[in-house]
């Protein structure tokens, strides 16, 4: 895919994502019914849960690209993993900031060391270390391989985060959408949540593509530098 194509795709996805964002904000503030027990503050759910979904999606991409990178050694997979990791880190930060704002009103505390919160914070630190490891060695290939391992290990945490509320006693609410007996949300709430998830997913994919294109251009610049320093001999003229 050419850079121009990547940019156009990113722009299209971003526009669709922004339109959905306007729609879901309108739904959140004008349409969706107020939750009975938590009241107004439950509306944070429509930004907290989609951010968590996108963070999981992003780290899933990191793990997949990292695993295939370790197998095949293709540089573009490492670029894709890095771009996804940045997005995942941003969205996990959103989860970790919006959660306490909700928890302070709903639970009476900003933070508690219960399993889901602790594992999410651990995920954030794992991906922070992903970026630190990338710059840790002088040999870029080596640091990319180390980072790929960290990316795979970090993604193993994702299923644990999801099932932690089922396995352990937890303050965090049980899943309301991904359940064996179907979603337990009011239809308007579910509709709003799905719109927000769609918006965040499209915005993430758009920014992921742009970030990937930056990495690709950076690699092209590095290749040009190498070419200038060590020019490859041209084709030998025929006799």
């Amino acid at each position: 895919m050419s850079l121009r194509m990547i940019r156009w795709t990113a722009l299209t996805l971003a526009t669709a994502g922004l339109v959905l964002a306007v729609l879901f904000h309108w739904q959140v503030f004008f349409r969706v019914p107020t939750e009975a027990s938590m009241g107004l503050v439950q509306r944070i759910f429509y930004i907290h849960a989609p951010a968590a979904w996108v963070a999981f999606l992003a780290f899933g991409i990191v793990a997949l690209c990292s695993a295939v990178y370790l197998w095949l050694g293709e540089a573009r997979l490492d670029r894709a993993a890095l771009a996804a990791a940045e997005g995942g880190f941003v969205f996990t930060t959103i989860v970790l900031l919006t959660g306490p704002l909700w928890g302070k009103i709903a639970w009476g505390t900003w933070w508690t060391w219960e399993p889901r919160l602790t594992l999410t914070l651990l995920l954030w630190f794992i991906y922070l270390s992903y970026f630190l490891v990338r710059g840790a060695t002088e040999n870029p290939g080596r640091s990319q391989r180390f980072a790929a391992v960290v990316g795979i290990v970090g993604a193993l945490n994702i299923p644990l985060i999801h099932i932690s509320v089922l396995w352990f006693r937890s303050l965090h609410p049980q899943p309301v959408v991904v359940r064996a007996d179907g979603p337990s949300l009011h239809p308007d709430m579910l509709n709003t949540l799905l719109t927000a998830m769609g918006s965040f997913t499209l915005l993430f994919l758009a920014l992921f593509l742009l970030r990937y294109s930056v990495e690709r251009m950076g690699d092209r610049a590095d290749a040009l530098v190498r070419e200038q320093l060590h020019p490859t001999p041209g084709p030998t003229p025929r006799a």
Binding site: W26, V32, V90, L97, L101, L210, G218, A221
Partner: protein
């Protein structure tokens, strides 16, 4: 080729936003049941959560745009240098 940015159509976007915002919401608001007064702190937390989320996303956008500008400037300089050399 690197400088071929797609052009925004601000008027199109504004019309789209206006249509979405002008969509009659009053009937739907009435469906959500009787209104209840909530402490000002609840509004503050909701506002802050949404503001922080969008600020972080905006921060990522700014970072990407700055990186893109830096790499493009580097590539352009190298291409110009190579052109002068030829």
């Amino acid at each position: 080729m690197l400088r071929s940015y797609p052009r925004w159509k601000p008027v199109t976007l504004l019309v789209l936003l206006a249509l979405l915002l002008l969509f009659p919401a009053s009937d739907l608001v009435a469906q959500s049941g009787p209104s209840r007064a909530y402490p000002l702190r609840d509004y503050g937390h909701v506002f802050l959560a949404y503001a922080l989320a969008w600020l972080l996303l905006l921060g990522w956008v700014v970072r990407i745009v700055r990186q893109m500008a830096r790499v493009e400037a580097r590539l352009t300089a190298m291409e110009e240098e190579a052109g002068i050399g030829v």
